[in-house]
């Protein structure tokens, strides 16, 4: 950790906090494991900082954190390195296997892991629904009565042609006036 102490403390403090938050977000709450992992990640970041000076320690530390976790997912799940969604599959497997509560000791460890743990992780998958079985709904058109047909014709005319719509409004207004005229006689 010498190299870490040499740098501006505020940068490394931020890096420390970010890595710790990231592990917290993975629900790693065991303090002993947490401090060990944070130390491990920051040490790796510090080594890289020597090779690439000028890069923000937070970025380096988080790159290391994501690399370490991805490598671990790859190993446990036995995935090929060119698969782009390794982190997603790994996190999901962790979640479904409930690693933070059931197998915390295995997390980011080098192995060997128990067969049961590996199987649980590898079997973890998610299915939002059963297999599709596409089948159509049979639509049937309405058969209107004669009155319905007249009404539908009028309605279509009124809704499609603006002129008839105006005319319909005027007819209604006229009828209202005629009605008022009649009842006031």
């Amino acid at each position: 950790m010498e190299s870490i102490n040499d740098k501006s403390p505020s940068y490394w403090d931020e890096a420390y906090e970010k890595v710790e938050s990231y592990l917290h977000s993975l629900r790693i709450k065991n303090k002993r494991l947490l401090s060990r992992l944070v130390y491990l990640i920051l040490e790796k970041a510090a080594k890289r900082e020597k090779e690439t000076p000028g890069v923000n320690p937070t970025v380096l530390a988080m790159e290391e954190a994501q690399k370490i976790t991805s490598d671990w997912y790859k190993k446990v799940l036995n995935l090929k390195s060119n698969e782009s969604d390794i982190p997603v599959r790994g996190r999901l497997a962790m979640l479904l296997a409930d690693v933070p509560n059931k197998s915390l000791d295995c997390f980011l460890g080098d192995g060997p892991w128990s067969e049961e743990f590996v199987k649980t992780m590898q079997d973890s998958y998610i299915s939002a629904g059963p297999d599709f079985q596409n089948s159509p709904l049979h639509h049937r058109a309405l058969k209107l009565t004669q009155t319905g047909n007249v009404m539908a014709g009028t309605f279509n005319l009124v809704t499609k042609r603006p002129f008839f719509k105006f005319l319909a409004y005027w007819v209604v207004i006229t009828l209202v006036f005629v009605f008022i005229f009649y009842i006031t006689r």
């Binding site: 937070t58 954190a65 479904l96 309405l142 009842i183």
Partner: protein, 712 residues
């Protein structure tokens, strides 16, 4: 041999069908003839009154309206009357639920899907309701026959993310992966009906039945299992609807509705079942449907013209029942099953909002009434639905015309010259005859309440659950008074809705607010009711000019309108509701003796069983913030997206990076809802955002991200 056996079964089925049909015909004849007689007597007295006063154009209009409206209220009153007399005879075969009593244990269940269509609903309530139903079915040891589908149409990105993570947590907690499924639609075509249709197209053929729920539904395992048994036992039944009782009401308004649902509901439903028999209706939720005929015959047709009056059908349930019946399948009401619940709106304004949608949906049914091939019972259901709203407009016109006639008479200074009545032996003055018409109307209006009250007095166990005879009588009196004050307000709302719909002003299918909080704000009440207050004042003034007598006659209407703002606020208050609750007014059986599933729901709602979301800390956008920062929620969302991702739906990467950059540096509020939605629909964008939000230092991130990160 097989043919002969099949023939015997067919013959038995025909005999069974004809028995039900002929019994239903007799009952309908009796029911509607009695309704007609009451309408005829009332109309005769009204016509005679006008005859004596002298007919005018206005009076003819009033008489026609009176005839229609008196039919409507008589129709309602007959339900209560027939309900009271048909309820005690519980051994009658006309209850569909009785068909499984003898061999209930031996009936095997079939594969059933329980559907929960949701759209931006309160996530916790929805999932706790589902947990309760799941738990209740598990207790029946029949869980293996049921799959649960959360069918989301949510457009709010926060809700969407919450729904996914809650689903995952629920599945983990109940060990229900492969039993509870979650699906969100990309497009929201045809709202709830489209949501269910989408399920049917995708998975429908895997199941024999489906039970449709609403976001606020709750059903007991026993009720659900029995519904499946009914369907298995009765192969001619296409839909079996339960009668959901309203529960969990807290405000005064909700508690009143709740009381009415529990106290009057069973009697009305018995009356409804008396005449509709196998020609029942579907209310959209808390019902079981046979999937094969539903897919074959119940796809919704398109109506002539455009929305709101034509186009896509908004209220699909009545239409689906009518289509099912048209295809020869029975639709029954299993009204005597307990264990079917729903929640009501907390206040008058929320209730009016819901009615706005229902009004449009029901008015669209005019096209179905004018279509060929439907059964008369279904046409009656649809006409009744139309009249529930159009009736309000007719009442309004009726009252306006009556007021006008009285006002005209008053300002004319002419004295009233009357002639003899239609029958000389009825030696009545005009005033006396007026009172008779008024009396008949009031009797018809209050008959249902009276019938229910008498019915409750005869059943000491039943009445005890409502707080005893004294409390129940007081509750009915108060409910009648409050309803009388609410009725003119609903009349005004509904009249407006009908006119708006007819003049082409449509409505969306928004999310219903089901929780009561601390009542509505004064500003909200003023905004909703100021026009009603104005109309009330004007009406009172004109009534005053028309003379003292009329002023007092019409006063219940204008007083309700004038006090609408404070009255609406009082109705929405939980504290007022609690006062009545403490005094055992509007008490309902589930409050005294709650069912296990209701208790379980309440218990879990008070706990915080869903832990992935720290929603207390981030009231706004909590779902979105966690979607991008939380490694698990992000992974879940991306996985679900990838499982439904179709070819050709890839978004413009350049724009997505622009949105992503904005999101990280300027926060969630920097993006519009459309931009947010397109971002969170893209799995690659989300993986990139998750990577970036953790990688960047605080200087390159908006403060909201730093706050969430620090909170882990």
């Amino acid at each position: 041999m097989v043919n002969k056996a099949q023939e015997t079964v067919d013959n038995q089925e025909m005999i069974y069908r004809s028995r039900i049909e002929s019994r239903a015909s007799r009952r309908r004849l009796l029911f509607f003839t009695l309704t007609f007689i009451i309408t005829a007597i009332s109309t005769l007295f009204m016509a005679d009154l006008f005859w004596r006063l002298g007919f005018s154009f206005a009076r003819i209009c009033i008489l026609i309206l009176f005839c229609i409206l008196i039919w409507q209220i008589s129709f309602g009153a007959m339900h209560a009357l027939f309900g009271v007399f048909s309820r005690p005879k519980k051994k009658l075969f006309d209850h569909i639920t009785r068909t499984i009593i003898e061999d209930s244990e031996s009936i095997l269940l079939a594969e059933t899907a329980i559907l929960l269509p949701i759209c931006n609903e309160e996530t916790k309530r929805v999932y706790e309701g589902l947990r309760s139903i799941y738990n209740s079915i598990e207790k029946t040891k029949q869980l293996k026959h049921f799959d649960f589908f959360i069918l989301s149409d949510s457009t709010n990105p926060d809700r969407w993310v919450k729904e996914e993570s809650f689903w995952l947590e629920l599945c983990q907690q109940l060990n229900a992966f492969g039993r509870i499924f979650y699906r969100r639609r990309e497009n929201h075509y045809h709202k709830k009906a489209g949501n269910v249709a989408d399920f049917l197209r995708t998975w429908g053929k895997r199941y024999k039945y489906m039970i449709c729920l609403d976001a606020d539904s709750l059903m007991s395992g026993d009720c659900i299992v029995n519904l499946v048994k009914i369907m298995e036992k009765n192969p001619s039944v296409g839909i079996c609807q339960t009668a959901p009782a309203i529960v969990r009401g807290e405000s005064l308004y909700a508690r009143m509705m709740q009381f009415a649902s529990h106290f009057y509901g069973p009697v009305f439903q018995a009356g409804l079942n008396y005449w509709q028999q196998n020609g029942g209706n579907f209310w959209g939720h808390n019902a079981i449907l046979r999937i094969d005929p539903f897919m074959e015959y119940c796809a919704l047709p398109k109506l002539p013209g455009k929305e709101p009056f034509g186009g896509k059908i908004l209220s699909h349930d009545f239409v689906e029942a009518a289509l099912m019946r048209k295809a020869g399948w029975f639709v029954w009401l299993a009204y005597d099953y307990s264990g079917s619940y729903e929640e009501g709106p907390p206040d008058l304004i929320e209730s009016a909002k819901r009615d706005r949608r229902w009004c449009q949906g029901n008015l669209q049914h005019t096209w179905l009434v004018l279509s060929k091939g439907f059964f008369m019972t279904n046409r009656i259901h649809m006409l009744n639905g139309i009249m529930s709203y159009a009736g309000s407009l007719l009442w309004f016109i009726f009252l306006l015309l009556s007021s006008f006639v009285v006002y005209q008479q008053a300002v004319s200074d002419l004295s009233i010259i009357t002639v003899h009545s239609f029958a000389d032996f009825i030696n009545l003055s005009v005033t006396e005859e007026g009172f008779i018409v008024f009396g008949i109307t009031i009797v018809i209006l209050l008959l249902p309440k009276f019938c229910c009250l008498i019915h409750s007095y005869c059943d000491s166990e039943f009445v005890a659950q409502f707080g005893g005879r004294f409390k129940v009588t007081l509750s009915v009196i108060l409910e009648t008074l409050f309803s009388a004050l609410v009725a003119p307000l609903l009349m005004m709302f509904h009249s407006k809705f009908v006119v708006f719909t007819l003049f082409g002003k449509g409505v969306g299918w928004g999310t219903q607010n089901r929780s009561a909080k601390d009542g509505i704000a004064v500003r909200t009440a003023i905004k909703a009711h100021w026009k009603q207050t104005f109309v009330g004042c004007l009406w009172a003034y004109l009534a005053y000019l028309s003379g003292n007598v009329y002023f007092w006659w019409i006063s219940p209407i204008f007083i309700s309108l004038i006090i609408s703002i404070p009255f609406s606020i009082i109705l929405s208050k939980v504290s007022v509701g609690s006062f009545f609750k403490d005094n055992k007014i509007f008490q309902t059986p589930p409050e005294v003796n709650p069912s296990p599933e209701l208790l379980y729901l309440e218990e879990n709602l008070n706990k915080n069983l869903f832990t992935y979301h720290k929603s207390e800390a981030y009231q706004n956008h909590s779902g979105l913030l966690h979607l991008i920062t939380d490694p698990y929620i992000n992974a879940l969302h991306v996985t679900l997206l990838k499982s439904i991702k179709e070819e050709g739906t890839i978004k413009n990467i350049k724009y997505l990076h622009e949105y992503g950059e904005k999101l990280l540096t300027d926060g969630i509020d920097a993006l519009s809802t459309v931009e947010l939605n397109s971002t969170i629909k893209d799995p690659d964008a989300l993986m990139w955002l998750h990577h970036e939000v953790w990688l960047r230092s605080a200087n390159n991130l908006h403060v909201s991200w730093c706050n969430v990160i620090n909170s882990y």
